[in-house]
């Protein structure tokens, strides 16, 4: 099994350790606004355990995925709302 995984965040390539969550990839891409709230505030992960829904991003075209609960896979395309 490879030690690292390559994926893209907003079109930029990112490399993460194998087993890391998508939330890590977004942070490593230096994105702090994972999504925009309904009134436009930048938001990032809060609870780290899948219940706050603040870390939601679009993964391979599917919206509203909790990035803290999804393991990075090679070639994943992650888009933030930022």
């Amino acid at each position: 099994m490879p030690d690292s995984v390559r994926l893209t965040v907003n079109g930029t390539g990112v490399e993460v350790p194998a087993g890391a969550m998508v939330s890590t990839a977004v942070a490593l891409a230096d994105v702090s606004a994972y999504r925009r709230s309904v009134s436009g505030e930048p938001r990032g992960p809060l609870c780290g355990m899948g219940i706050c829904f603040e870390c939601r991003v679009t993964i391979d075209g599917r919206a509203h995925c909790r990035s803290c609960q999804v393991v990075c896979r090679p070639g994943m395309e992650v888009r933030t709302d930022g």
Binding site: V38, R62, A63, H64
Partner: protein, 373 residues
């Protein structure tokens, strides 16, 4: 200020609120009694569509009149009322339904309601997430959507500004021509008492022909632009029309937030509010038949509500036969939000003996109700 009013209204839902607002604006001394949060019954459970519906001449007259009242006030509402003129698309699945679309076009035009027919490709352009292969649709552009609990709250606030007394958190124990008796024995005495308690109306006025008709709804996360209009299948009318069977019909509505409301279902004879999974599944499958992409959308909550249904599909608005001081404003089935405004007007008109904008006879309690199968 004692406990004596011109009008005492039991029920602080959208219908009670509209009655309170109109009566107070007309100079009447109004009291409203509501045990739960304002708009906590069917008002909170339904979709919140404002739609001209042509199941019968009396229904189209009432919905058209009421819709025009909503439209006239569109710019007045605060943001939390979320009024948007999304328009309705009555979707035709085949040529037989397209013939029905064209018939409806005639009906709407005959009463001055703007409507047009979209063919298959125009429909696909308007709503790309509808499945290919549909025949077309009737577009009724001035229909809208609203967030009903906040609309009810707004109207009750306006009533209060005109001197209405709101007794929220208190429950009516009984109604009579004398007024509303509360659970603690207090009598809110009034010249006229109005039963606007929706599905609970027969509990307070025994013998009236209002039955609970359960419905389910699902709301999704935000997908702005995924659906632009209120979408309804033509079969919706058949589903609403039936007085016996459980049924579902495709009905999807966008909220201003970009969330989608997915309905609709109808059941008689069920009193509990828990989700009926077989109905929920039927309803969601029907919806996916029209919009297959719904399958992948994230649903965040489901719930149920009880419509107040009458045998002839028209609401009961006006005095009870044999008790001129006790009014009904109930039985609106799936059109409570739409026809609340007109109901308020009619109730005030009847109390003040003003000439109503549309004839009140078809909705009077005590009319002969033939159940249409």
């Amino acid at each position: 200020m004692g406990n004596s009013f011109d009008v005492a209204i039991a029920g602080g839902g959208i219908v009670g609120a509209a009655c309170a607002e109109e009566c107070a604006a007309s100079g009447l001394k109004v009291a409203v009694v509501e045990p739960g949060p304002i708009g906590g019954g069917a008002t909170a459970a339904g979709m919140g569509h404002i739609v001209v519906m042509d199941d019968s001449p009396a229904q189209i007259a009432l919905t058209n009149y009421s819709r025009s009242l909503w439209m006239a006030r569109a710019s007045e509402f605060p943001p939390d009322v979320e009024f948007v003129a999304t328009g309705t698309l009555w979707v035709a699945a085949d040529e037989e339904e397209m013939a029905e679309v064209r018939r409806k076009l005639g009906v709407y035009h005959s009463i001055g309601v703007r409507a047009s027919v979209l063919d298959a490709s125009e429909l696909a352009k308007e709503e790309p997430n509808l499945r290919p292969g549909l025949a077309g649709a009737l577009l009724v552009p001035d229909d809208g959507v609203v967030y009903p609990p906040c609309a009810a709250r707004y109207q009750l606030e306006r009533a209060r500004q005109n001197g209405a007394v709101l007794r929220i958190g208190e429950a009516a124990a009984s109604l009579s021509g004398e007024g509303i008796k509360l659970r603690d024995g207090t009598l809110i005495s009034a010249g006229i008492t109005v039963n606007a308690t929706g599905a609970w109306a027969p509990e307070l006025t025994p013998g009236i022909e209002v039955r609970k008709r359960k419905g389910h709804l699902v709301i999704t996360d935000r997908y702005p632009g995924w659906v632009r209009h209120q979408l309804v299948e033509l079969g919706y009318l058949k589903s609403a029309h039936s007085t016996t069977e459980d049924s579902v019909a495709f009905n999807v509505q966008p909220r201003k937030t970009g969330q989608l409301l997915i309905g609709s279902s109808r059941q008689f004879g069920v009193e509990y509010g828990a989700i009926d999974h077989h109905m929920l599944t039927r309803m969601l499958r029907r919806a996916q038949e029209y919009m297959p992409g719904l399958a992948d959308l994230s649903a965040i909550r489901s719930w149920t509500g009880f419509r107040a249904a009458t045998p002839d599909k028209l609401p009961l608005i006006g005095p009870c036969p044999g008790n001129e001081r006790l009014y009904l404003a109930t039985g609106h089935e799936g059109l409570g939000i739409t026809t609340s405004m007109a109901t308020g007007k009619l109730v005030a008109d009847l109390i003040l003996r003003r000439t109503p904008a549309i004839p009140a006879e078809p909705y009077l309690p005590g009319r002969k109700q033939e159940a249409h199968a």
